[in-house]
Point group: C2
Chain length 488, copies 2
């Protein structure tokens, strides 16, 4: 078996785990959860064994030393396979097991600590997870600081210093825009007409929208879960989920637009290369750029609703007397909330800037775990003007750390930055700009397919953005988007 046959086998195993994981979130009977975990554990151990085996290593070496390495796609695939192999094999089995055990305990401790708003009972777990994260960072290696090694797993080719520079540039502007947006909102924010917005009508409306922006229902579906997500079960099998509130049809719709953004990326990856780097998404920040682009730049735009609001009014008769202008105000409402997952477009990044700074200092040893709540509250007050009422609404709110997901949060704001830069670059093509202004998004999708999706993971994210937009990631387009939406 060549390395490529092995990669295809690995993809089959991983895709099988995705099917089982998807079913777990959508349709699994309650009593079936325990056994399902065994199935996922078995598949994941098969995948790990294969991808870190001596045979894998040998086949990779054979391919690396072959003449075929002149082909640029092949070269990129071998480079990325090598990177993944080295990263996977640098950690000893003992550490992986310790990590998995620690996160499992930490997840339970976190849920309990959050419920009781008691940081001190979570603190020793966070301490352990930080130690493990630093151990991993040391084994993986880094040139700047430990955060670099963790970030590399989510956003390769991007240094912590680069992220910090981007975030520092945008901080004052985002604070100002957010404050302005919240102020306007508090002076005039019309409520959506009362529900019920029947679930069946929402599903029909969402499907129409998803289809119109190019989501291929022959190669995907939308199902229902508590927490919306997008997962890929095979080269032509992309599953989105959303949740429904009968009081507000926009909740499920924006869930669908966000997840469809992820889904369009997955559907746009070269299907023949499924499982290879050239057929895989490159990073969380690029993935998020796609979801945010469709959710915010398309789905929250005036032109989008000039086309779709009449359709919504047909689907939901209570909207008949509610003018488009009011609806747009409703969509663009902004509020300072202590909770990240409830944050709107105008205030979201402030939550990320806060987390990035704290994580970075924790990892560098400049912030002790015991001091996290105080620093959280102080920095939060600086950004938002008030302190969270308690740790449950503060430093205990997110699940990420308890899962060992350190170095992850930054990619949300990188996604926002990239989304704006890509959207602005696409609009430079006059025919794409014209189509967008007519709420026809297929030419935009075509541009994304060509400029982003087609590359898979063959380019590092900054280089991908540079080739697509003409410059490395910068905050310019994003800040100008936020200003024009919330200040103009």
């Amino acid at each position: 078996m060549s390395i490529f046959e092995k990669v295809h086998e690995l993809a089959v195993i991983r895709a099988s785990a995705e099917v089982i994981g998807w079913d777990q979130e959508t349709y699994l009977p309650v009593a079936a959860h325990a056994y399902r975990a065994r199935q996922l554990a078995w598949l994941s151990s098969q995948a790990h064994q294969l991808a870190t085996s001596e045979a894998w290593k040998k086949d990779l070496e054979i391919a690396e030393s072959s003449d075929l390495a002149n082909d640029p796609k092949l070269t990129a695939n071998l480079r990325e396979l090598r990177r993944e192999f080295d990263r996977a094999t640098k950690l000893p089995v003992e550490l992986i097991a310790r990590d998995s055990m620690a996160s499992s305990l930490a997840k339970h401790a976190w849920a309990d600590a959050r419920a009781r708003s008691d940081f001190s009972s979570f603190a020793p777990h966070l301490e352990t997870l930080l130690e493990i994260a630093r151990e991993k960072a040391d084994l993986w290696g880094y040139s700047g600081e430990p955060y670099d090694a963790l970030l590399e797993g989510y956003e390769r080719g991007t240094s912590t210093a680069t992220v910090a520079r981007l975030f520092d540039t945008m901080r004052p502007a985002v604070r100002k825009i957010a404050a302005h947006a919240v102020e306007i909102s508090s002076s005039y924010a019309p409520g959506l007409p009362d529900g019920p917005y029947p679930v069946a009508a929402q599903q029909l409306f969402n499907a129409k929208v998803a289809e119109a922006i190019g989501f291929d229902f022959n190669a995907g579906r939308i199902d229902t879960t508590t927490h919306p997500f997008c997962t890929t079960l095979g080269p032509r099998d992309v599953r989105l989920t959303t949740r429904y509130m009968e009081s507000d049809f926009t909740s499920s719709l924006f869930g669908v637009l966000h997840e469809a953004g992820h889904g369009l990326y997955e559907q746009g990856l070269p299907a023949v290369d499924f499982g290879l780097p050239s057929g895989s998404a490159v990073s969380l920040g690029i993935h998020e750029s796609q979801s945010r682009l469709w959710e915010n730049h398309v789905g929250r735009s005036r032109t989008f609703w000039e086309k779709w609001y009449p359709v919504a009014q047909e689907s939901f008769p209570q909207l008949a007397g509610f003018p488009l202008e009011n609806f747009l105000r409703y969509l663009w409402r902004a509020e300072f909330s202590p909770i990240r997952v409830e944050a709107d477009e105008a205030t979201y990044d402030l939550h990320i800037l806060l987390r990035f700074e704290i994580e970075r200092q924790m990892l560098n040893g400049g912030l002790s775990v015991a001091d996290v709540p105080a620093m959280w509250n102080e920095n939060f007050r600086e950004l938002f003007g008030f302190a969270p009422p308690d740790d449950r609404h503060g430093c205990l709110q997110d699940i990420h750390w308890s899962m060992g997901g350190l170095g992850y949060f930054a990619t949300y704001t990188l996604g926002n930055i990239n989304s704006a830069q890509l959207f602005a670059a696409a609009r430079k093509d006059p025919s794409i700009a014209t189509s967008i202004d007519q709420a026809n998004y297929l030419p935009l999708l075509g541009w994304l397919r060509k400029s982003v999706h087609a590359h898979g993971a063959t380019l590092d994210p900054p280089e991908l953005i540079r080739q697509a937009t003409g410059s490395l990631p910068s905050t310019e387009a994003y800040l100008s988007h936020l200003k024009s939406r919330y200040i103009s």
Copy 2:
């Protein structure tokens, strides 16, 4: 790893394949089918490798030679594991590959031949499949005739001669009852009031019925497919499917009752022994006895509808003016159809008797493939009084042979026989009989749990029936059931 750890691992792999197979039939996007086949092939090859490995053999031998073999459940498990291992390893890899290739080609050829009603284009495939079936039979070994070795895979401990004796006994009586039922039906068979019977209302009604007969929705679900089935994705995860006709709510309901019968069996198997023989269904004939019992003995009975018809009338207002007596006549309507899957309870077995005889003679070499259509039509005319209009409605109608499923059909009628014998035995307990007469079926389910489900596959089907009912399988209870329903 002991043999039991290996068995549990095998169960995890097989259950994973069931998840993926279930998704394939229920929710898979159309473009995703090709890749799904690769996932199933990988899992099935992993399962096969494990279950036929040298390590498996050694661990089985270690367990067989251990002292633990005094425990009766353990003894039974080791005996059945040995039987499965020997059966799986008696076939050379070359034959398994040839078989799989031949069935794959035959399935396509059959679909095409059936569409064109052209037996001659399917004949060479059937010839190949018969040769392979005989090869397999020779390798597995048999004392009577080749059909024995095939039947053993579906209905162990049951000889072809025994089946033939049972079928010969019932043939004249079933013909007479069927003819009578068809005659009565043609003189008076009221049509169901016009639809639509809305799908949502059917789903609600079916779920109520399934729950009332004891199906545990915490450990199972009902979804929608073209061909109803029941599959088990884990020890507490049983999935039923049905299909909906807006013109007739009884179609989905009887799909659910039939599949829930299978599902109650699966839910009643000892969950701690999942994957072991003691936690597995024993045979197709016993499985079918459970589905037929709930479908026909419970679901088509007068007492069942005395309770449920008022509920149906509330769910479907058009039933308001349609009396229960007419509804029961509608349920008990009988008709001679050339197509097995459209056959009713009164005429179903005639289709099976026909197939059993032809299969048996084909395998024994007493009937050449070229003569199948003529023999089919002649025997069909003898049983039904008319010949099928063409081979598409005759010997080409079923998929089974094209999948290499020779020796399978007999288990449908064995299931009918067993269902009646079990139901009659349960009714011998006066308190169970009283409950049944009040349309309370939980005591009946309790009896089936104890007498059938709890044994898993530790007893051969005939012995299971003997212990549960006091005598080996015989046609008495079944014929008496048919008579009382269709002649009295």
